[in-house]
Symmetry: C2
Amino acid sequence: MSEKIGILAIGHGSRLPYNKEVVTEIADTIAKKHPEYIIKTGFMENCGPSVEEGLASFEGTGVTKIAAVPVFLASGVHITEDIPEILKLDPETNEGKFAVDGKEVPVVYGKPLGHHELLADLVFDRASEVL
Amino acid sequence: MSEKIGILAIGHGSRLPYNKEVVTEIADTIAKKHPEYIIKTGFMENCGPSVEEGLASFEGTGVTKIAAVPVFLASGVHITEDIPEILKLDPETNEGKFAVDGKEVPVVYGKPLGHHELLADLVFDRASEVL
């Protein structure tokens, strides 16, 4: 059986719609560019789907492995503590298991965005727009 | 007198060092690429300099205008309410004034990063790293 990869894009969530919009647009863009992957979203706070609901939404997709990736600029307490707890990751390996379609599939955990020159260019553009 | 522009890169802040590291790296990269601008940082929570301290650090630089830009992925309550309050922005114009070197200089307010195809590429890379 060939591998079928799922990516769970985890957003912070917000009472306002913008965080969900940006994370969903990022997920949609990944899905368009990489149609062989199954992309889902989940949010930590204030909006749905929750991370648990995001994971559960892989049901029926036939994924054999899931990469959970925090769509956060930088690491922080959500990344180091809260998300690993929700995903029930082994603290030694940073990996977990989740039951999809009656089978346990491995869940691996990616890093947040981190620094990138393009982020600096984007921030500079955002300044230039109002100067 | 010619314009001298300051950019205040505003980060969320965190108890862990990563948010400050990423926002500072972004500010350093902008400063390197645009040496004619004065770039400072300020943080909302849990680490310094605060936004007020970041603004105050333009003292002595001779800036004639400041663009305050939230280094956040998406808009949210910090962006729409908390930062405008700290910057004392006029709710009509989204602009303010801040005293630097004994003169009132205008403060304008930029948007957060928002969706960008490169962000989707970065998230996909973060997934690929652990798959």
